[in-house]
């Protein structure tokens, strides 16, 4: 267990450094707006007084370094400033919109793994035969269209033509579910409302699948590549020489060693869902953080932009830390490193 903790601590350390860099980068991007950011944010109809007020509030008259210092000090107190768009603290906005996005991303992530890995295993097992070719074409198709195109296509076919799934939103409007966690799948269950749960789940299927499609393709390709490498190893030949059933060789003896190198990249793809959620939420009118992000970006809402990007990046980094730790947990060679070789 000790190497795992040590690794996690080390990763969190470097990640904090990287997060600090991200905050500098985002802060710089948000301050390079051509012209007066306050004027840009408030629009041409604002009075000179309003602009001056906002400049003071954003401390735009101070040097950039001092502005950043204030920003960090506020951040340390958990304050990301006020949003001009909602006129509420940015943290409040994020707390409201984040759960919807997380729910979408988590379900998409589960789909990505639940479909991507088995497809990769199948492709490797039937390498060079039709299942392999089929899975290759499907995977490449999956990554070849942006998620908003899949979203539109899925919506057209499964919502409009077939009517299997609702068209947009998170839940049918007749349900009033008290907010506990913000995750509707959980809140509906807590409320003991089965019909509402089914409605929330039905609303999730298409957006999550549209979001997951490219990840499914990536995961399948990657798993296939690593499995094929594993298939060349002596221990797989040994498993076959001893007549272990071919399915068991694939699903257990070849898959497990192949998973370890795949994990890091699957983690990156999982984290990339955070970006693509912007596109899918727009199509399905999903009331999440990404839609909020687009709104504040279009309105040049500086505090909200910085806050949103920072939170998304923090989650991105967190996912990668979790994946790193998982990699270690799954790899006995690192897990048992301290024992060393015994004669």
């Amino acid at each position: 267990m000790i190497p795992v903790l040590r690794l996690a601590a080390k990763r969190i350390g470097t990640s904090l450094l990287v997060l600090f860099g991200v905050s500098v980068l985002i802060f710089c991007i948000a301050r390079v707006i051509p012209g007066d950011p306050a004027r840009v944010a408030l629009g041409p109809n604002a009075t000179a007084e309003q602009v001056a007020n906002l400049r003071a509030q954003l401390r735009l008259d101070e040097p950039l370094v001092a502005q950043y210092g204030h920003f960090l000090a506020d951040l340390a107190r958990g304050d990301l400033g006020r949003s001009l768009y909602t006129n509420r603290p940015v943290t409040t906005d994020i707390a409201e919109f984040l759960p919807a996005t997380l729910e979408l991303i988590l379900v998409a992530g589960i789909m990505m793994i639940a479909f991507g890995l088995p497809l990769g295993i199948l492709a490797a097992r039937f390498r060079g035969r039709w299942p392999d070719h089929l899975i290759r074409v499907l995977s490449l198709l999956g990554v070849s269209a942006p998620s908003f195109v899949w979203a539109v296509g899925l919506m057209l076919v499964f919502s409009y033509y077939l009517g299997w799934f609702p068209i947009a939103g998170r839940i049918a409007s007749q349900f009033e579910i008290g907010r506990v966690t913000g995750f509707l799948l959980i809140d509906t269950l807590l409320a003991g409302n089965g019909a509402a749960f089914r409605s929330a789940a039905a609303h999730l299927v298409l957006p999550a699948f549209a979001l997951a499609l490219s990840g499914i393709g990536q995961a399948a390709r990657l798993t296939r590549a690593n499995m094929i490498e594993t298939y060349e190893t002596p221990y797989i030949e040994m498993a076959r020489a001893y007549g272990f059933p071919e399915r068991r060789v694939a699903n257990r003896y070849a898959f497990r060693p192949s998973l370890i190198p795949s994990l890091t990249i699957i983690g990156l793809d999982l984290a990339a869902l955070l970006g693509n959620a912007f596109l899918v939420e727009a199509v399905f009118g999903w009331p999440g953080l990404s839609r909020y992000g687009v709104q504040v970006i279009l309105r040049k809402d500086l505090n909200a932009i910085v806050g949103t990007v920072l939170i998304i990046s923090a989650m991105f980094i967190l996912v990668n830390i979790i994946v790193d730790v998982l990699t270690v947990l799954l790899n006995p060679r690192i897990r048992h490193a301290q024992r060393g070789a015994t004669p």
């Binding site: 470097t14 450094l17 990287v18 997060l19 860099g21 991200v22 500098v24 980068l25 985002i26 991007i29 948000a30 390079v32 707006i33 051509p34 070719h133 290759r136 074409v137 490449l140 198709l141 990554v143 070849s144 269209a145 942006p146 908003f148 195109v149 539109v152 296509g153 919506m155 057209l156 409009y160 033509y161 590549a225 984290a271 990339a272 955070l274 970006g275 693509n276 912007f278 596109l279 727009a282 199509v283 992000g293 687009v294 970006i297 279009l298 040049k300 932009i305 990007v309 998304i312 990046s313 991105f316 980094i317």
Partner: protein, 277 residues
């Protein structure tokens, strides 16, 4: 090179990729000749013909102001391809040079460059481009800047990993012993070994730049009307679902065809060159 071409030609999927990409390039380059209504690329209005489903005159139908969709898609390809070429032409040399420096020079260079790369890679790619585009005015040039900014770190990381491995190889040591300059070693000795991987990634990325650029304009953060753009066409078309399905479906398919083509070629190249990383 010859051998690569021959193996690619034996793979039907790669051939399909070459075919799709050729169609897209020919369509884009010769759009003024091929497009049935060349003036529909701009702010033309034809209210007698708006929202028409596909027909013999308008093979992909017309949009909400009566412009021929096929024409607009061909012209949109011009901009997408131009962006892909420009973004890669800027991002790849920057990324490769930084990667070579980090991998070969090591020490302080390595630390500074790779931490900077980490910072850029720690913002989900699309989110970085969205926030840059958000604060800048949505123009073609700014779009290039935003997408280039999110693209170079991937090449830095790729080349860094190769260069770090090659650095200890005999031929590099030999060059150092006979007194070759660092510049010479980096660009003449190590760089050629990175070319297959970089080339494969570039082919795949040509498609992905098109994909990202269309994503930006889908969100209203890209090329502005009346300039035709695949992403904003899908966004507009999505509002008229399901009745005017062609408005969103054909531009969406246009993105799929172009990106799929590049992916098929890149995938074939990856098999041949073994540049899988």
């Amino acid at each position: 090179m010859r051998r690569t071409a021959r193996i690619l030609a034996a793979n039907p999927l790669s051939l399909l990729g070459v075919l799709l990409v050729s169609l897209v390039i020919v369509g884009a380059v010769f759009a003024p000749v091929l497009a049935p209504f060349p003036d529909h690329r701009g702010a033309v209005v034809d209210f007698t013909n708006f929202n028409k489903p596909p027909s013999a005159t308008h093979v992909m139908g017309t949009d909400v102001v009566g412009r021929d969709l096929f024409t607009r898609i061909l012209y949109a390809y011009r901009i997408s391809l131009l962006l892909a070429v420009v973004v890669l032409a800027i991002a790849v040399p920057i990324g490769v040079t930084l990667g070579l420096m980090a991998g070969y020079l090591g020490g302080w260079w390595e630390y500074a460059i790779m931490r900077l790369t980490d910072v850029f890679l720690s913002i989900p790619p699309l989110v970085l481009a969205i926030s840059i585009m958000g604060v800048l005015a949505p123009t073609l040039v700014n779009g290039m800047i935003a997408v280039t900014a999110m693209w170079w770190p991937w090449y830095t990381r790729l080349v860094y990993n190769i260069a770090r491995g090659e650095k200890v190889e005999g031929y590099v040591l030999a060059a150092e012993v006979i007194g070759a300059s660092r510049i010479h070693v980096m660009f003449r000795e190590i760089l050629p070994n990175c070319i297959p991987a970089v080339l494969t990634k570039m082919t795949l990325d040509a498609g992905f730049v098109i994909l990202i650029v269309s994503s930006l304009s889908f969100l209203g953060l890209g090329v502005q009307p009346p300039t035709p753009d695949l992403g904003s066409m899908v966004a507009e078309g999505a509002r008229y679902l399901p009745d005017s399905w062609w408005l969103a479906v054909f531009p969406g398919l246009a993105i799929l065809v172009a990106v799929f083509g590049f992916n098929l070629i890149g995938d074939g190249l990856r098999d041949v060159l073994g540049a899988d990383r």
